[in-house]
Symmetry: C2
Subunit: 388 residues, 2 copies
């Protein structure tokens, strides 16, 4: 087991009705609140109205930033930073999914960024930095942004979608009932995102970090158990609650404690797909993951044991390592397909025209030479091709 540091300052208020603690969560920071959100979904479920009511009752001064995109853009960050400065914002309240929270983290940090160009901040976001306090109300179980310091910001002009570290939320309100109306497609995509956060750390060269591996396997099993239930019964509280708890922990770093870094290859490859084609992140991950798995298993058979472990402990299969490793991947792909995710790029009208450029960019940004199984730009092109 390798050394690690656990240092997550976020307070999670988990469960139905936790919004009752919203005013209390905001009060320590001041009166001027920037409320950020995406499309209209929080209005459809009445959450927007409830939030505004609480803010009004408690005499907060509200500024709004709406229309944050599913793959949040640098332009929204820029607008948000200006609003914070113009309105002397004390605290940001993000209401939405990972995109809204991600964008709000970059805004919170952007307020204190001294350069002219906020895209430069994104390019250099290696660690937490000074930021406005951030409180969020989560409405989608997927990215885990409510329990980590990371954010992913896109620049559609340069075809770049870049992850970085900004700031932890001070408080995250995680009420599973707010996910009751999430569509089947987004539920499945979010669940694939949760699972990918686990896969990216689980397939590592460190074999003796029992608790991390146990947490990882527990999350994968719970997601595969509860996603079909949530798809069938969107208002099944237990299923939605399990997905939400899993999402928060999956991307927190906890399932990787003590383990050797892996480079997060599927996220690197998927960010290119989103940057070029603006597809749903979790869908891109679901398409890439089994192809990446098959590719590295073939390239480096020394990883067979870990894939067999995954097949046994997570997919519930039995048998000899060689066959098992492959069967586990097949069963995973079949599972993703069963949740309604289009499992190849052609269904998304994506061809191979940009694969070379995308692969070069992953290679430049991620240095997957240090990945679990090292990948060259050519390897990445091959993996993209297998996804067609």
């Amino acid at each position: 087991m390798l050394n690690f540091v656990h240092d997550i300052p976020t307070k999670l208020l988990f469960g139905k009705g936790q919004i009752e603690n919203l005013a209390e969560a905001l009060k320590p920071y001041g009166k001027n609140v920037l409320v950020t959100y995406g499309g209209g979904s929080i209005k459809r479920i009445g959450l927007y109205q409830k939030v505004m009511e609480i803010l009004k009752e408690n005499s907060f001064c509200v500024t709004e930033l709406k229309g944050i995109e599913p793959n949040p853009r640098i332009e929204s960050v820029t607008v948000g930073v200006k609003l914070c400065k113009d309105h002397k914002i004390d605290v940001i309240l993000a209401v939405g999914g990972g995109s809204t929270i991600d964008c709000s983290k970059a805004i919170a940090a952007g307020v204190f960024y001294e350069g002219e160009d906020l895209w430069q901040m994104v390019l250099t976001a290696k660690e937490e930095r000074k930021a406005l306090p951030l409180v969020d109300i989560l409405t989608l179980s997927a990215t885990g942004s409510e329990f980590d310091s990371g954010a992913v910001i896109s620049n559609m002009k340069t075809h770049e979608k870049l992850g970085g570290s900004y700031t932890y939320p001070a408080v995250s309100i995680c009420d599973p009932t707010y996910t009751f109306t999430v569509s089947p497609y987004q539920t499945a995509a979010g669940s694939a995102d949760i699972m990918s956060h686990i896969f990216e750390g689980y397939f590592s060269r460190t074999e003796d970090s029992d608790l991390s591996d146990g947490i990882a396997e527990s999350i994968l099993k719970s997601v595969m158990k509860n996603t079909p239930i949530a798809l069938k019964e969107p208002e099944n509280y237990s299923a939605r609650a399990n997905l939400m708890a899993c999402a928060s922990v999956a991307c927190s770093g906890i399932p990787e404690y003590g383990k050797q870094g892996t480079g997060w290859p599927c996220h690197g490859m998927e960010h290119e797909l989103s940057a070029y084609y603006d597809i749903t992140h979790g869908v891109g991950l679901a398409i890439l993951t089994p192809r990446w798995m098959r590719y590295i298993l073939k390239k480096d058979p020394s990883v067979t044991g870990r894939f067999a472990k995954f097949a046994r402990n997570v997919m519930g299969l039995e048998g000899k390592d060689d066959a098992l490793a492959k069967e586990g991947i097949d069963k995973l792909e079949a599972y993703f397909r069963s949740t309604g995710i289009p499992m190849n790029l052609k269904e998304l009208q994506i061809g191979e025209e940009h694969f070379e450029d995308m692969a070069k960019h992953v290679d430049k940004m991620r240095s997957l030479k240090n990945a679990y199984v090292p990948l060259t730009a050519q390897d990445i092109v091959e993996i993209y091709r297998a996804c067609l």
Copy 2:
């Protein structure tokens, strides 16, 4: 899944060599440090000398409180509080196991306690309170005090050993190499303590908190895998590291998130044994646990399913629920015995003379009427008798 709040401010620095970050961890709080420790073990392993060297190099002013007992006493808390006041202590540095850290938490809070009698503080320690900052260096994998706000303080005059909530450590330095010299007896007892922290939450009426249950099962499996290795090879880093990571998470509350409270019956019963006979906490727990399990399984067969789940997922057994539930408990008892723990009270020269008084006191302090399977004072006497 029930509502929960995650709010753990402690920063864990985990792994070998983390002591290099000690000065940095203390500096934000001030120059006057109270170093607390127990017997001579930290001197034997050279840790005391290393700590003093770092404190001297960084110009801290050191006051010492040594000789903190294995079941720390209210008298030590009183002495510590006086030292803090007399020497204008800014931060407490606890070097040792759970007892030293527990005592230090009560001292840290005691400095701000306004009453005359610190035992009154212990009697009313229901939640975190204002306290001096606390940094610790852990030397025993057992209580999890390095990652929670709780402490257990004893009053041998009144035969009381009471758990309460005081303050979270600001920073915990968890270096598994400091546990290389822990004796086989204490290693086994510490491991039983870790497992008991899991059992106390795992056997709950909430069946749908997947991640909590998964974490709980992972910790139990890891402890049962790594304890025999640590007993055989005391300097096996991987085994010691896994035990240390499991210990920190086991008592953090995390394995109980979303689950109905259970009253922690074995801890209630064990604290009486320690209060009367000053036995090693983990040994008392190991003796009590299988007897409590058998007793409640007989008293309320509706819990059979959960015991069967434990037998399947943790003990690796297969079969039908009724038989499995019992076999799981038998295998657990055999496991405890295999680690060298004396598995009955007679071996510790404990007879039944105080059982009635002890049971009445548990009944008064714990209200086990709300336990997983509710227990009366008479039930508790029966469980004690089964331990003879």
